[in-house]
């Protein structure tokens, strides 16, 4: 528990953490505000949140990459990981504590962003948009789960690379309106089982692909990917020289 609190304060004291939070909430809300579509579509709000997930991704990436950066004018190559590992030598516990912090902060961030996006949507397009039926609630739960899993995906990938740049670039490029994963579905149906595309089934009802996964199955596929990645990442993190 002490480790979790230490990790939380470490994350919260990074300027990039607050930047991630601002991106996560403001970007999707801003897009909703700017777009102001005439005809409501089934994925209104969710589509924007699928872009806002970048905030959660950044959060996961920096939680790990900040341990390894030695940039900055005169940091003399000092990397925080050395301090961290002397303070908490049990690496497995450290890795889990970090993952817990990443998951729970992105959970909170996702709730905030979802609330903000749908409040704005409701204000701008009338009550009809959000009837809060059981299906709406399930989709919202799905989008929040998607954010949490994506942040953990970023975290796990960064544990391998130790530098935030590659995971961030890959995940960012893949968040484009036409994601690489989506393009790949045209080449092979197997691409539907990539974590991001499978996870989107949890909330999106408008994915034009040949293979249809149910929301639950999609979420399960993504969760398996993330769990597998975290297990391997934890092993690597625990065994490697810092």
């Amino acid at each position: 528990m002490r480790t979790v609190r230490a990790e939380l304060s470490k994350l919260a004291s990074l300027p990039a953490f607050w930047f991630a939070c601002v991106v996560g909430v403001l970007v999707p809300t801003g897009i909703v505000l700017l777009a102001g579509r005439a005809a409501p579509r089934v994925d209104d709000g969710y589509q924007e949140l699928a872009v806002g997930v970048l905030g959660a991704i950044v959060l996961g990436v920096i939680a790990m990459s900040s341990e390894y950066t030695s940039e900055g004018a005169e940091s003399a190559g000092g990397r925080q990981i050395n301090t961290t590992l002397t303070a908490v030598p049990t690496r497995g516990r450290l890795f889990l504590a970090k993952a817990l912090v990443v998951g729970s902060t992105s959970f909170v961030l996702a709730i905030l962003a979802t609330t903000a996006v749908f409040s704005v949507l409701r204000l701008s397009q009338g009550v009809g948009v959000l009837a809060l039926t059981g299906d709406d609630l399930a989709r919202m739960g799905g989008v929040i789960a998607y954010w949490v899993l994506m942040s953990l995906l970023g975290y796990g990938l960064t544990a391998f690379t130790r530098s935030g740049i590659i995971p961030l670039a890959v995940l960012l490029v893949n968040s484009s309106t036409v994601s690489v994963s989506y393009l790949l579905t045209k080449a092979t149906p197997l691409a539907n089982y990539l974590p991001d595309l499978a996870g989107m089934r949890m909330f999106s009802r408008d994915l034009a692909t040949d293979v249809e996964l149910s929301p639950l199955l999609g979420g399960a596929v993504m969760a398996v990917w993330v769990a597998g990645l975290l297990i391997v990442a934890k092993l690597v993190f625990a065994r490697r020289d810092a």
């Binding site: 897009i31 872009v51 740049i165 670039a169 490029v173 036409v178």
Partner: protein, 228 residues
């Protein structure tokens, strides 16, 4: 005398540029980015080509779409080249060796532009060639008169983009903020604002060049006046 002086200045500049080339060449991150960009572009071409082609329009797309994603590689190339100066205090060594900062930045930019052009030619050319081979039957419909200018345009665009990445990297001195900002703009904000997916947007070299130049000038002015 003045001719001699200018000669000396050009000589110093060439030396600096050569040094910057050696510097990039010996940076592992440069090779990693290069390999990643090249490999990624070829893989995408392969994936897209394996979809059943339905005519010359599709073929065009197959050749252009990987370039859209290759943008990311070139952004990273520029940002990493600039920010590597600020890791481990290398900037001190650079400025001690080449104290005239404006010409140091110009030499570094020239070296980077040169390498970026070569890399872009490899990526675009490789992609086109690869796609051509894969789509042998459909390739008959390919119009070289259209393809060559659009390939050259893409090469120029990617090189100019690299310079923009380097300018942003020099301004921020840190990889993550510079790369994240530029990638966010290119892949998320710009497609959203224009309403066009990134893969459908033609590389706009003429539109990008002024921005690159503006950021390059800004970065040089900042470097000139900033305490290293």
């Amino acid at each position: 005398m003045s001719a001699l002086l200018r000669c000396g200045r050009i000589h110093v500049f060439c030396r600096a540029m050569h040094s910057e080339l050696v510097k990039l060449w010996s940076l592992p991150a440069f090779w990693l980015t290069l390999a990643g960009t090249f490999g990624g572009a070829l893989l995408l071409t392969l994936a897209l080509s394996s979809a059943p082609p339905t005519g010359p329009v599709e073929l065009d797309k197959v050749l252009v779409q990987p370039v859209a994603y290759a943008q990311a590689g070139f952004v990273l190339l520029g940002v990493l080249a600039a920010c590597s100066e600020y890791a481990g205090g290398q900037i001190r060594t650079t400025l001690l060796a080449m104290p005239q900062r404006v010409s140091q930045r110009l030499a570094a930019t020239a070296a980077l532009l040169l390498l970026a052009l070569v890399v872009a030619a490899l990526v675009v050319g490789g992609g086109v060639l690869f796609g051509y081979v894969l789509l042998a039957e459909a390739a008959g419909a390919l119009d070289a008169g259209l393809l060559v200018p659009s390939a050259l345009n893409a090469i120029g665009y990617l090189a100019v983009l690299t310079v923009l990445g380097a300018a942003l990297g020099t301004l921020t001195r840190r990889v993550l903020p510079a790369a994240a900002a530029l990638l966010l703009y290119l892949f998320v904000l710009s497609p959203l604002v224009s309403g066009q997916p990134v893969t459908d947007t033609q590389p706009d070299t003429a539109g990008l060049a002024p921005w690159s130049l503006a950021f390059l000038v800004a970065s040089i002015v900042v470097v000139k006046h900033r305490d290293a």
